[in-house]
Symmetry: C2
Subunit: 84 residues, 2 copies
DNA sequence: TAGTTATTTAGATAAATATCTAAATATTAT
DNA sequence: ATAATATTTAGATATTTATCTAAATAACTA
């Protein structure tokens, strides 16, 4: 839960997640959507990956990232317990 | 959305929210549940309040805090759009 | 093989944040 | 009015984090 909230506590990372909702993208494509250096984006991707919100797959020289929506169940359940 | 994620991105604050799910509590009662100074708890309460996750009401010399679950709708909706 | 492209790792830095103690404020009780 | 209790504000500090540039790694291409 900690890693999940930490991962989502950043506007850039939330936007990345929203981008990946539409389609899988490689690291460069993602970076092109922001005015932030590629290393910084790489760092954000790593945090999202650690939270299991995204997965990555090497495809030749590219690394393709996909959204993992299943982890969001945990988040929704946590919130729902609060609403009783 | 930013304030909301920021507020929930802390174990202590999430526990406060869980405590307030059970019943309204004043600042001192909340502080007693943690090994953290009262000023620090007060600071956490302020962050939760800024995110509209809790409300406060002065009752004599006490300040009673309550959970506001309605704001959680926004959070759930954000998550649900990701799951399409 | 040498050069080019894609991505990550390393190391540095500035800003944000969680925490503390001490002091201020507000309310109740004697 | 004074003392006691509840809470917040102020100011300081150590840790975390978002960002950068430079360098390293990996995989295509000519």
């Amino acid at each position: 839960m900690n890693l999940l909230f930490k991962a989502l506590n950043d506007e850039t990372r939330r936007k990345i997640v929203e981008l990946l909702k539409e389609r899988d993208m490689n690291a460069g494509e993602i970076a092109d959507k922001f005015n932030i250096s590629k290393p910084s984006i790489s760092h954000h991707l790593e945090i999202l990956k650690r939270a299991d919100l995204i997965t990555s797959e090497k495809k030749g020289q590219f690394v393709e990232y996909s959204l993992n929506t299943s982890i969001l169940e945990d988040l929704i359940n946590w919130i729902l317990t609060l609403k009783k």
